[in-house]
Symmetry: C2
Subunit: 418 residues, 2 copies
């Protein structure tokens, strides 16, 4: 399989891009070669696809279901009781809806943590994008629940081998307040044996930090260091309440951090994400949307914009998190985080490419494409999406989208009344 | 001229909407009547169009031109020198681009302050939306400049009578640090004589407040009160740095306040807009995007989202500025601010209506339409826009949009090199 994109704007000039198999084979002006598919790139620009560093994809089903509530009430009365009723088939349709939304907004890789693993895995397989899917571990400090959680993770890991290379398996202990130290250590050992990422919510709220100090005698990051868990395969979601010492530890152990600005704002978890200090310490930071129950959409351009605006605001410094860096957090850094050659359009990189329609009013005039994308456009400017060397959206149409909308809508309405 | 919209979702149930001339004549199930245009509303929802309470529309030409800079450098090196070179024809194309973007994101009324009045007025006339257009007044405390500014405002007011009722004239003294007390008072007297709104930037930055105290002996709001200017026809843009006493004065004098969250964040002007205190004092608050030089787009759904998220974040209260209120700020309150029956879909209101495509993935599932619109969707879910009883966008297509994109792009590239 090969694709030739002709006369496409790339990094400020016009080239052709030749894709062979799932890789970018050649970038040059006027490539003379036969290809299975030829795409006319005139009036368009090629940019890397986006990486959503932290989400709960199937929670699209909760979009708009519980709004403007206090965290405890929101979790206890709305999220948890209804989450318990979800079936694998519900998760499948919720995930297809989420993947559809991600494709339409230019994302081809997401890092997920959710129940009913196979529901999400099937959706990803069928729709042609990439995902890092976690086995969720929660034991609530109960040894019997811990046994079940471990067995479940082992089984899922074995079963996950049936899927294509677009799906990576990951260990997903939920958080230090829902998973015992023993299970955390077990999960990290299992991850190490099988060379898997370890994905955990950490330092999301001030309450979590205070409770950790009270219950374990450590701040959350220090606690994981104490348990011997921190290393370069650990990805923490949020990292919103970090001390200088926390940042030193994260840098020393090469831990990766995913910032979810919209979720943090909406749940009022906090807004002073210490991006600059993390970056200056050498920590790899990427961006995520979190689940649609808290952030409501999966739009990575919006995540980049809000991340950048927020840094400028709380620091009273308009030079903070400039636009090219914001774009890097949403593309390249996401690729690095999962060890994939993603997030750049260069020869040898995976063929994950967005073609942008430059006639979208929000992209005019073209003084600065990245600024237009991050600060002005929404996902709607994305015309064509290529993932793993295949065209998965063309002219904003994704195969089967009408069926997905219909089934996701029906699934949500049936499940919520169950 | 009449329009009949059949089987449209409105406030949770399905109705027909009959528009006669520029008003909503009847809302009822299954209306049996002849109409010039019949629109099939199935699969769609009707919502009010949005009101952009403060912008500098033609500054679309600056989109992406000067990013991530300190305010002084940004103004002195980038904005002002290039602004000085703009012609009326440049402003015309910049304004047409802005109006195109507004229509595509569901806005049919904007409150503008910019040079080359007729450039913007022509764009608005031709494209069928509404605007409140200010005569900009700046005298930099120079009596000769003051004379010119006053003469110019008087002339523009006379000339503005040539335009349709969709265009309202307004007095637009730029700010208290660029306009002398005498000119401010003159402008307010002229506004009062001719029953015009008075639109001014006020209390946008902490520096402005401190300078006002040093130079005039008053905080900005108190200074306008001292000059006898504050009343119900005064609209202040920003009002970001307000004391309790400022809020008391604004409430007492029924002054209107336009909050521009994205601009305030991006320019690092501040983020603690005192929405709750203003609302509780009874002040009418609406939302704006500010110009594309600072906020980069004209998307009112984004303004609603960021306004809401910001309140929740800085107050550490997820119940702040709930979704229905955010929608009200972007619709109804904007209508009230300019004395127009706008921002609600009710019999007797002006026929300014957005039809939303409910199959947009960001609007699925449909637990809560307002939450989907404010927190999830972008302007791209808007399928059809009706303004003043005329269809100005259908199936996301606006007449002449290709020409606008081409000319705005060329205008920006030519002007910037001039």
């Amino acid at each position: 399989m090969s694709i030739l994109i002709k006369n496409i704007r790339l990094n400020g000039s016009v080239s052709d891009i030749y894709i062979l198999g799932n890789k970018i084979e050649k970038i040059e002006k006027n490539i003379q070669i036969q290809a299975d598919t030829i795409i006319d790139g005139s009036g368009k620009a090629a940019i890397p696809t986006f990486v959503n560093g932290h989400t709960h994809n199937a929670m699209t089903l909760f979009r708009g279901f519980a709004e403007d509530m206090r965290l405890e009430e929101w979790l206890n009365e709305k999220i948890w009781p209804h989450e318990a009723k979800l079936t694998e088939q519900d998760v499948y349709w919720g995930s297809r809806l989420g993947v559809l939304e991600m494709i339409k907004s230019g994302t081809t890789l997401f890092n997920d943590m959710y129940w009913h693993f196979h529901g999400t895995a099937r959706a990803v397989e069928e729709m042609g994008i990439r995902a890092v899917l976690s086995a969720v571990l929660i034991d609530n400090f109960d040894p019997l629940a811990a046994q079940d959680a471990r067995k479940n993770a082992e089984d899922l890991y074995e079963a996950s081998k049936q899927y294509s290379s677009r799906i990576q398996f990951s260990m997903g202990p939920h958080a230090i307040y829902t998973v015992s130290a023993d299970t955390l250590k077990w999960a990290k050992a299992f991850a190490d044996q099988n060379n898997l990422p370890f994905h955990i919510h950490l330092s999301e709220t001030e309450v979590e930090v205070n409770n950790a100090i009270n219950n374990f005698g450590f701040r959350p990051v220090e606690y994981l260091e104490h348990l011997g868990i921190l290393d370069e395969n650990v990805i923490i979601a949020h990292g919103l309440w970090l001390s200088d010492h926390d940042i030193e530890l994260l840098a020393k152990r090469k831990v990766k951090v995913v910032h979810n600005p919209n979720s943090n704002l909406k749940l009022a978890s906090g807004y002073k994400f210490r991006y600059q200090e993390l970056r200056d310490a050498g920590v790899c930071v990427a961006l995520g949307t979190d689940g649609c129950s808290s952030s409501n959409n999966l739009d990575m351009l919006e995540a980049m914009k809000v991340a950048s605006l927020l840094q400028k605001a709380w620091r009273y410094a308009p030079t903070s998190l400039p636009v090219d860096e914001a774009m890097q957090l949403g593309t390249e850094n996401g690729g690095k985080m999962f060890g994939l050659k993603l997030g750049k359009i260069e020869e040898g990189y995976l063929a994950d490419i967005n073609l942008i329609d430059l006639s979208d009013p929000t992209l005019v005039p073209l003084h600065n494409l990245n600024a237009n994308l991050v600060y002005s456009a929404g996902g709607g400017c994305i015309d064509t999406v290529i993932c793993d060397g295949k065209v998965i959206m063309e002219n904003r149409h994704v195969d089967g989208e009408e069926e997905i909308i219909k089934n996701a809508q029906e699934t949500a309405m049936t499940w919520i009344k169950r």
